[in-house]
Symmetry: C2
Subunit: 195 residues, 2 copies
DNA sequence: CCTACCGATCGGTAGG
DNA sequence: CCTACCGATCGGTAGG
């Protein structure tokens, strides 16, 4: 991306994200995609090798965004509660900034061929591990309840930040940071009035 | 279902749930479906009117299960925390008992034709409303924090119980009730050690 | 980037 | 429930 103008390939990927997220991978034809870009179906193959390459690229970029946002947080010294909050802020930010790719990511990765499929499940495990680690550190530090199950706690946090792809609409009253903060407040302090 | 044996139509719907959840609606051909049932593609049309009828029926049945489980709880007199817990138990139970239909429901409803599509969005709103109502009652009763936003709180609860379709595996250590209880404990009491 | 085309496969139907 | 078939559309390629 040395150009200020997006390359044709980038345009194809952007449009593919939009169409795949709206209609699904299999329900989007290469002719649909080409038409949206003002070209003929066959012309796409001057820029890409095939349909699956588009899906792989979209999914890879999305997972790389999560990686960059989250893993750099590992060595940041913050109290556990603040660290979890910051992770959630970054996580929701990635979802919000990439609503379409995120939707494709969550819905269409099952349609990848075995090797790309395996990479995604491996990636998913690494994200689970990141959050479990964060929870365990918080328990060990005495900040989080000792009776928490790190695995289930990680699932709960991931539910909150991932599910946002189904309802969040950019440009609304709440920005991604507000959403993450609201969720973090509720999760950390609980819904019930303290006894 | 006066028969103890499932009708051919029921078998078709069951198999369609499995295939649609594994491969997606559009990536499942009617010949795939027929083959799984030991028949020819054209033979399906003696039992159903078309492919979309299958999707509509799967989605309708799933939403009816949620309705039955949740709305009957409206008039049950329980403390707000226990009522939310019970709603989550029932919600996760429906997801766990119908992992395949639930997956189809969450992933494929976008592919419905306009009228069926509108019914699903309407249904989704009614589930949102159910949880918001429950939260609001809890706030008014003084059981939940006054600073909660019922809308965001409902999203958080729904995230937890819905996202289970991506990771829950029946037959594991935790039953659906355990999952819901663990989530409810964390949500109600919070992750942090009380100050 | 287009035209023209490939074989394969799609959902669905007719007639039995 | 099967055989045989319909028109439409699919992802992708050849040659320019």
């Amino acid at each position: 991306m040395t150009d200020s103008v997006k390359s044709r390939r980038e345009q194809i990927l952007d449009t593919a994200s939009t169409l795949f997220s709206e209609r699904g991978y299999h329900a989007t034809s290469m002719r649909d995609l080409a038409g949206e870009l003002g070209m003929q179906g066959g012309s796409l193959y001057a820029h890409i090798s095939g349909k699956e390459e588009l899906l792989i690229e979209i999914v890879n970029r999305a997972s790389r965004q999560f990686d960059t946002a989250l893993f750099s947080l590992r060595d940041v010294p913050l109290p556990p509660g603040e660290k979890l909050r910051e992770a959630m802020r970054r996580h929701v930010q990635v979802v919000a900034d990439n609503m379409e790719s995120a939707t494709v990511f969550f819905h269409e990765w099952k349609h990848l061929s075995p090797s790309a499929y395996a990479r995604v499940t491996g990636w998913r495990d690494s994200i689970d591990a990141f959050y479990r680690e964060l929870i365990t550190q918080g328990i060990d530090a005495g900040a989080f309840r000792r009776d928490l199950d790190p695995k289930m706690t990680a699932y709960l946090v991931l539910s909150a930040v991932n599910w946002a792809y189904t309802w969040y609409r950019p440009g609304g009253l709440l920005g991604p940071g507000d959403v993450a903060d609201t969720f973090a407040d509720m999760l950390l302090r609980g819904l019930e009035v303290s006894a």
